[in-house]
Amino acid sequence: MSLITRRSLLIAGAGGLVAGCDGIGNSEAGRDLLFKAEAVHRSLQRAITDRNALARQFTEAEMSPRFRANGSIFPTDPAYRASMRGNFADWRLRVDGLVARPLSLSLADIRALPQRAQITRHDCVEGWSAIGKWHGPKLSTLLDLAGMKDSARFLVFHCADTLYGRPYYESIDLIDAFHPQTILAWAMNNRTLPVEHGAPLRLRVERQLGYKHAKYLMRIEAVASIGAIHGGKGGLWEDIADYEWYAGI
């Protein structure tokens, strides 16, 4: 066998492997296997690390000069637009589902709660990072006000924006819901939260990737399972593109 033939065999072999990956990635069994890695990463992370570990906080001098906005940057929903024109005076955040006392809070109510400010790094699943300052009450403060029922396991965040014709939503478990850095931010970089970053209120869940940080919050629902909500995978990106539900990876 000549050198050239051997080399082309090797190249064909490698090319075949890469092409075969498309076949595996499109097959039910292949995806089932590959997708198991998410649970392994989540379990390993939670087994070897402190569940209450805090994300790094930075100083104002370390902030990104300009913070990129991504995903929805201007919701088209008429009710949202009308509310925005009224400076969100009529906007309410509902907290309901498996809670003892459902809440309906105005922005003034939310600003009157004990507040937390944090300068953290935001990591997009695409690979970029930006450091910004976020200001708002801890999610746990609202959850304590509402009184979570014992059967609640997840918090679902319903949003005013849509992507690909579907309402945006996200969900987290109770470990992240009660984490001290999980806040509902109404201010960013010492100013009222801009529309492109999720006005009037967005979630900050600092140990996960950007798509978990739901913007344009309308309603927080405590549920026992995420299986019956929208596509059943716990978030819009999870439903339409199979992004990981656990985005701490």
Partner: protein
């Protein structure tokens, strides 16, 4: 041919690890290039996004700013699926390396075959080895089973430097791990620096694969590949 002495050169843990890692690294390179396509710019420091100054842009290499489909897994743009591939084989790569390290300390493969001696690092010795490689002489006639100095150095660089760096810079990009182990991201000088080092290490591994395959072919592909499958290798006369 039949009279050539055959020696048992590669033990089972070495052979298993070699092929598991070969597949993993190829999948990780392909899926990693697809992940890079989602944001084809690299930065130094803690942060880095569209308004910041990158040190590298995919657009400098490929028109349109995207790595072409024949180099990526999957072959058409799909960040989510590329991440599934990458995060699956990241586990395979890391745990295979851990198991191989333990096995190779116990069976003394590392101590016996990969220990680099001081005399192998001398400039005169290295120059002689480069000359021998150019003349396609890869084996010490006195001890044909042993790895030559350049071979040892490149294997040591891959096993003890590049693969661990790839794993730890990968972990340093995980926001969950960043909170738990903040020192890890500090070691690399920030998350975007870790991402840049991850890419550079990946390119060095790709370079290693090219040189490794070329030398396998030059040294006799059939004999070399067979020895990594069965363990048995024919020593050159």
């Amino acid at each position: 041919m039949a009279t050539e002495p055959t020696v048992y050169r590669h033990r089972l843990p070495t052979r298993l690890w070699h092929w598991v890692t070969a597949i993993s690294v190829i999948v990780l390179l392909g899926s990693g290039l697809m992940i890079l396509n989602a944001h084809g710019q690299l930065y130094w420091g803690q942060y880095g996004a569209n308004y910041d100054q990158p040190w590298f842009r995919v657009a400098w290499v490929f028109e349109g700013g995207r790595v072409p489909g024949w180099l990526t897994i999957p072959s058409t743009y799909n960040l989510a699926l590329a991440r599934r591939w990458h995060l699956f084989f990241a586990l395979v790569l890391a745990f295979a390396l851990l198991a191989f390290t333990i096995a190779s300390l116990i069976n003394r493969h590392f101590q016996r075959d990969l220990r680099v001696r001081m005399k192998e690092l001398g400039p005169a010795h290295l120059a002689a080895e480069v000359k021998a490689h150019a003349a396609l002489r890869f084996h010490d006639p006195e001890n044909p089973r042993a790895y030559n100095g350049l071979q040892k150095l490149s294997y040591v660089a891959v096993i003890f430097v590049l693969l661990p760096l790839a794993i730890f810079t990968g972990l340093a990009m995980s926001p969950g791990m960043n909170a738990a182990w903040p020192w890890l991201v500090d070691v690399f000088g920030g998350r975007q620096s870790a991402r840049s080092i991850h890419f550079i290490v990946a390119m060095l591994l790709a370079l290693f694969i090219v040189v490794h395959l070329a030398l396998v072919i030059l040294a006799g592909a059939w004999n070399e590949v067979r020895s990594m499958v069965t363990g048995w290798w024919k020593a050159p006369q």
